[in-house]
Amino acid sequence: MKPAPSIIGFTTASGLGYGMLFVLALGALIGVIPTERWLRVSGLLLALGSISAGLLSSTLHLGHPERAWRALSQWRSSWLSREGVLALFTYVPALLLAAGWIIDESLSGIYAVSAITAALGAAATVYCTGMIYASLPPIKAWHQPLTAPIYLAFALMTGALAVHFLLVLFGAPHLFIGLLALLAIVGAFVMKILYWRKLENQRSHGPTTASATGLSSSGLVRMLDPPHTQTNYLLDEMGFRIGRKHAHVLKFLAYLFGLVAPLILTLMALALDTMPTTLLALVAFLSGMVGVVLERWLFFAEAEHTVMLFYAGQHVTSKPKTSAAPAKSAPSPHPKRRRAPLPRRRQAIETADVAASD
C-alpha cells in the first residue's frame, strides 16, 4: 500500500496528541502530574495542537476536503466515520479540562468527569484509527487482532515520552510517568515484533494469482498482457513496493530510534538528576517519534493488497488451501514433463510490472 505522507502524518501526530491527552488527564487525576498551571496547560495545548494538525493533515489526501463533514454520518458501519465522530467529541472534555486548569487548577466535579471522558475519548479515537485498517479483509497484514492494539501502544508510548519530557523541563519529573513510558515502549515493540513475525508467515500462505483468478487449482497462472499500458489508480495506490526492498534496514532503524534509544535515554534521565536530563528526555521523545514514523511508513509499504495478485503471476508449487475453482484439467495421457520456465519473458513481465507500480 502506498505510504501517503498525509496519512503517516495524521496517524503519528494524532497518536502523539491523544497519547499526551490520555496521560495528562489520567495522570492529573491520580496525582502524578504536578498542579503547576503552565505545565498542565502547555501540555494540553501541545496535545490538542498535535491532534488538530493531524486531523487537518488527514483531509489533505481527500478528493473533496470541503465535504469532509459528511464523514460524520455513517458511524453505524464505518470505522472511519466513528473515528471522526469521536475525534470531534473528544475536543469537548479536553477543552473543558484546559479551561478548568487555567481557572482554578482544580480537579473536582465536572473537571474530574472531563478528565476521565477525555482520556476515554482519546483511547477510543486511536482504537478507531487502528480498526480502520484492521477491518479491511483484502489487506491481510492489517486484517488481524494485533493492528488496533499496536496503534494504541504507540500512541501511549509517544504520549508518555512527551509528557515525561515536559515534566523534566518544568523540573518536576515523576517516576511513574517515566516507568509508564518505558513500559509502553517495550509493550509496543513486543506486539510489533509479533506483527512482523505474522507477516513473514503470511507471505507463504496467502492467496495466489492462480487461486484469485480461479484459473488453476494447482499450477501456473501468470500475466501475459497487462490490462492497461500505463499505470493507473490501483497500481499507484496498492502496488507500492519500493519500501519492501529496504524493509530490513528500515526495521533496524525503527528498532534503534523507537526502541533502543528512547529506552536507554529515558532510563538515564530517570537515573540522573543533574542538568542534562532535560536534553536526554527531549532526545528520547524525538527519537521515539522518528521510530514511530518509520514504523508507520513500513506499516503501509509492507502491506500487500489482494488486487495485486491480478497483476503479478507466480508459480504455485503447493495446492492452495481454498480454491473456488472446480478442478478442470484432465490428466495428460502422455508421460509428463515439467515445462521449462520462460525466464526472459517472465523477467520482462515483472520488470514492466515493477516499473508500472513504482
Partner: protein, 256 residues
C-alpha cells in the same frame, strides 16, 4: 446509508463472464468507457490521454493470463485466458460499509452497488476495501467511480428490450458476457452458472460476489485428430533426390 440491505434484495442483478470464449478484444472495456463517460454526472476522465503517460478511470479491465497446470506436454497444455474484471456487486460488499459519508450504497431492490458522487469525499477507503480492484478514483473529479451495471441502460424504457442490458454485454462480439437476475433460478444467467460450474472470485474472502465466472473448458491437445505427423521426416528415398539426400547427408557428417 452504508449498511447492507436488511433483507436480501428481491433481485440480484449481475453478470456471467465466460472465460472460455472471451477473445480479449477489449470491446467491453471501450464501450463501457464510452457509455459511462456520458452516463455519470461528470465524465470518466483521462489525464494526458494523448501524452506519454496516459491514465484514466476505467470501470472494466481485461487481464490476460498464461495458464497451465504445471506439468504439461510441450505445446499442448499452456493456454491464454482473457479475464475481464469489473465490479462484482457483492452481497457482503465491504466497500459499502467502510464508506464514512454514505456515498457508497447497495440498492435494496436489485443489489446494485453504486456511488453517490455528490456525497463522495474521495478518501479512497472503499477502493482499499475491494479485494478485486473494481473502484478507481477519477483524477479530475476527485470522486470514486465504479461499474453501475449500466443502471441508465437496463431500466431505460426508451430503449428497445434487447438494448436494455449493460454496454459491455451489448457490445461483446463473442457473447462472452451475459446479464441477468441471479435471484431467479430459471434465468439464463442462473442456468448458465449451474450448467458450466460458474464460480465466485476469491470465495474465501467472504464477499459473496454476484457476478460469476465460467471456467475455460478443458482443451484438447493441438495435434489431436487432424492427422498431422509428429515431426517432418525426409521422404526422398530413391532417384536423383534420394541420391542428393545421401550425398548431402554424408557431406554434413564431414570426412571421417
Amino acid at each position: 446509508m452504508t449498511s447492507w440491505p436488511k433483507q436480501p434484495p428481491a433481485k440480484r442483478l449481475g453478470l456471467v463472464i465466460d472465460l472460455d470464449i472471451c477473445v480479449g478484444c477489449h470491446a467491453c472495456v471501450v464501450n463501457c468507457k464510452e457509455w459511462n463517460t456520458g452516463g455519470y454526472p461528470a465524465p470518466l476522465s483521462d489525464q494526458e490521454p494523448y501524452g506519454a503517460s496516459a491514465r484514466g478511470a476505467w470501470l472494466n479491465r481485461v487481464h490476460s493470463y498464461e495458464v497451465s497446470d504445471g506439468e504439461v506436454e510441450d505445446g499442448a497444455g499452456g493456454r491464454t485466458v482473457h479475464f475481464p474484471k469489473s465490479c462484482l456487486h457483492c452481497e457482503n460488499a465491504h466497500c459499502v460499509t467502510v464508506c464514512p459519508t454514505g456515498a457508497s450504497y447497495k440498492r435494496e431492490e436489485d443489489g446494485i452497488v453504486l456511488v453517490d458522487e455528490e456525497k463522495c469525499i474521495g478518501c479512497g477507503l472503499c477502493a482499499w476495501a475491494c479485494p478485486y480492484g473494481a473502484r478507481e478514483l477519477d483524477g479530475a473529479e476527485g470522486v470514486m467511480k465504479k461499474c453501475t451495471l449500466c443502471i441508465d441502460r437496463i431500466y431505460n424504457e426508451t430503449f428497445s428490450p434487447v438494448e436494455q442490458e449493460p454496454a459491455c454485454v451489448a457490445t461483446c462480439p463473442a457473447r462472452a458476457r451475459h446479464f441477468g437476475d441471479f435471484a431467479d433460478p430459471n434465468s439464463a444467467v442462473s442456468r448458465l452458472t449451474e450448467e458450466r460450474g460458474g464460480y465466485d472470485l476469491m470465495a474465501e474472502m467472504g464477499y459473496r460476489p454476484t457476478n460469476k465466472y465460467l471456467p475455460p473448458r478443458s482443451a484438447k491437445p493441438i495435434n489431436d485428430g487432424i492427422g498431422a505427423p509428429d515431426a517432418l521426416t525426409p521422404v526422398a528415398e530413391g532417384g536423383f533426390l534420394g541420391w542428393l539426400d545421401r550425398v548431402l547427408t554424408d557431406l554434413s557428417k564431414g570426412p571421417s
